[in-house]
Symmetry: D2
Subunit: 289 residues, 4 copies
Amino acid sequence: MSAATARTAILLIHCADQQGLVAAICDFIARNQGNIVYLDQHVDTHRGVFFMRIEWELARFRIAAEAIGEVFGEAIGHRYKMHWTLSFSDDVPRIAIMVSRLPHCLYDLLSRWQSGEWRVDIPLLISNHEDLRDVAERFGLPFHVFPITPESKARQEEKLLELLREQRIDLIVLARYMQILGPRLIADYPDKIINIHHSFLPAFPGARPYHSAHARGVKIIGATSHYATVELDAGPIIAQDVAHITHRDPVEELIRKGRDLEKLVLARAVWAHIQRKILCYDNRTVIFD
Amino acid sequence: MSAATARTAILLIHCADQQGLVAAICDFIARNQGNIVYLDQHVDTHRGVFFMRIEWELARFRIAAEAIGEVFGEAIGHRYKMHWTLSFSDDVPRIAIMVSRLPHCLYDLLSRWQSGEWRVDIPLLISNHEDLRDVAERFGLPFHVFPITPESKARQEEKLLELLREQRIDLIVLARYMQILGPRLIADYPDKIINIHHSFLPAFPGARPYHSAHARGVKIIGATSHYATVELDAGPIIAQDVAHITHRDPVEELIRKGRDLEKLVLARAVWAHIQRKILCYDNRTVIFD
Amino acid sequence: MSAATARTAILLIHCADQQGLVAAICDFIARNQGNIVYLDQHVDTHRGVFFMRIEWELARFRIAAEAIGEVFGEAIGHRYKMHWTLSFSDDVPRIAIMVSRLPHCLYDLLSRWQSGEWRVDIPLLISNHEDLRDVAERFGLPFHVFPITPESKARQEEKLLELLREQRIDLIVLARYMQILGPRLIADYPDKIINIHHSFLPAFPGARPYHSAHARGVKIIGATSHYATVELDAGPIIAQDVAHITHRDPVEELIRKGRDLEKLVLARAVWAHIQRKILCYDNRTVIFD
Amino acid sequence: MSAATARTAILLIHCADQQGLVAAICDFIARNQGNIVYLDQHVDTHRGVFFMRIEWELARFRIAAEAIGEVFGEAIGHRYKMHWTLSFSDDVPRIAIMVSRLPHCLYDLLSRWQSGEWRVDIPLLISNHEDLRDVAERFGLPFHVFPITPESKARQEEKLLELLREQRIDLIVLARYMQILGPRLIADYPDKIINIHHSFLPAFPGARPYHSAHARGVKIIGATSHYATVELDAGPIIAQDVAHITHRDPVEELIRKGRDLEKLVLARAVWAHIQRKILCYDNRTVIFD
């Protein structure tokens, strides 16, 4: 189901739940000689929504890759009023990483890319500060700095948007980028901006969550990766994890332990996204295994 | 997908992987007006085996419940050389619990039954010792003692088998039963005897695993629930979990912390089994979510 | 350090941090022939507060048990302006459990008591409903019902207080007791009322946290045990734990998975308390290992 | 207790358990005007061994740093037949990292060093293969290759030992170094070689543990960091952690998930070591918090 090395097509589908959906989709692929290598589906019975991720090998598939979208739409998609996205296993997502001053998530992302763990392109880094330029240079990456002041913010974000478009960016990863993005940027990249927040949301949104966690005397700290939306720290949650702490841990130790959580929880979200395993609806996520 | 309260049918299927399996099965149910409320499937690509759990509402299903097995077999099952088991959401499994001297798993199982958390029948308790008779009485349960000596073992197990058959037992739960079962009993209840072992197998099989764990200086302890097979502590693993320990924990503390692990890991296995979410093959388990 | 079976004395101390505290306390015990079997200390450097738990065998201790408090006070306690509590390993805490309608935490607590896992007395159960009377009877316990209405609340709580005093209760455990306690009761049992809340506080305080967690689309759920204070769900946190969930889990499944979390997290808090391993200050807890 | 920024001295002590040890040590420091900022101790009652880590500020300490060892020995150490090591908070450990072909642990270690998370020197990388030379170059590090064949092994290890001595290496970290070290090297660096093994030892020692884990059908995988000893994968365990897997995970997915475990578990061990928080005895570790 997983170790498909041949080229595959991937459909992510959601629509109103109806009888016969799975049969119709599977039959469409089987009839055209597609060998299904992944199938997972979910029905939100409360909301009456159907979700599916299906992946099949193209080797002997009777429909040419570039025609699949149209043929599927005519045969199945329109009939069931589906929303769907089609992608291929050899598509390589282009990722822009945005950072401020903290390097731990950045190093982790770049290591996964450089070591070949992830098959992605990272054509550039973006920051509002100069601090991490040396990391960019270490990895041979262009480093674009957009200093942000209240006055310059709107204009800077316009230039940033232009750069992202020019570079054909598919996914923006906020690797502890400490600025709030403008609504225009968020609107242009819906469910395509992944942020890491350093608390188990919805606890401790906003600034300095480790200080708040310490002040409250909690026994666990956490990290949350989510898609950025206009409301701060309130977008669809992709992944969360926690670590146990004790009364011995001062806030500096929370920050230290939290770094490893942040790295992992951000990486899990990016991995799920680039595997096309995430569907968003109603401010929540379906994450296929 | 889950909160189905209407009566449903459940098929657990495995067979050689072939094209069109999912489509055929889904189509069979859809054509007969079955509303699918659960569908999960898995393909072991290495071994070329297909697994599926599918559940659908019977309210408007065109085939009478008692005929489904035969009709499904003729239409689908035989054609694809499937192994399948059919059950219904209102089947109530009859469970025999076997214990020795330790009460923690027993109390936990009985509490889940009595509080209505699990819809099962527990018609009797079985032990090789008198120690836990008071627990049985507390819960109003017959308590059968089969004292085991090397000489009496074979004969006692025959009487035990008779009792199990007489009581129409579907599932045997070894809740820290400290005797090795004979091959006859194991053969008569294949994948129907769940044991809890107090280590993260395959580490520390056999007797006194907490002592061995302490001697080795490990930093985690664990518990493993598995189906009993003739080889000790080597059957298909259903669930495992662990807890962190430190140098401060003497062996008594490992035993204390382990109790909670054992309770939970055994309960998870029984829950998965009575939900008909487990398929066994090749000494391993597929556990549907 | 732990397997002390001989009678021991336990001092829980906190005071302003000063040089020489540990030396003075250890010297006092050593000089009087006490064999220290547990010593843990903590300094909150930010607040400048010193905390210690020390336990020693009384077998050859030169000061009689009933005089230790006075002698320690004169020799050490007053000089360093300490707050301290002295207890003995053979003190058996008397616990009142308060419940409403949900039995899972109650069963778990009673099982630990009955099986000898905890050395405590549980002389009575208290509820605002009749529902769990059968559990009380199963364990042979008096079951006191104080139905609460807005009008009767004050008067009922007075009667409850009287009962608690009469029964010389040391610790009150709210095992999913769904009523808010009055300020009088809380004031009379400072740091002696343990509550279990079914979320990872401070997320989702108040009513129906699993529904809120589901609505927010979180990927972890949690449970929090804490001492009750007048502000709801805001008291010193004792223990927290979490479980991972997925988009597949409807709210009923969150409630089901949460039950096991609640049981464990409540039991951990009670265990730490009866081991005299908790010190409270500034709305937070020091929990010695 | 932790955020000590002034220069401190650290004593790691173990000896036969005796009355008055803590009092004597604390009194020695207090009498000489040392402000204790960390104190943790442990007694293995079964073996009768006492362990302690104590750290104090040197600012107003009456004994000069270079004389502390001698004075402590005369006043306390010899009298109680202690083994002790003295170090100072501004000592910077020199670490040699040894790798083969897998870069994930290496990247993680180098990132922590370069970002200032750890205050250590990493003067060189050592490998038996050329594969990771580019990572070394990326971080500006000398990369020494010692190709190993059965014939060359002894001679190569001699040259390696010479290099390590020349570079005054304090700690060797085997970051997925796939060669077994010779007994001479192990003897020269007792409790100073940290290895990461990709299983929850003692399960699956030796080669290809993920394949073995998959074959056995376990539901958790793990990683173990330990000090290298002559017996393979049998040295004192420092840290362990696990991740849950399911039947869906093929062996490639175990390897992928395992990488993150390996990184974290190795980093935790190195962190504990460079904080001087580990004591070894009897093939086990005491890890102070």
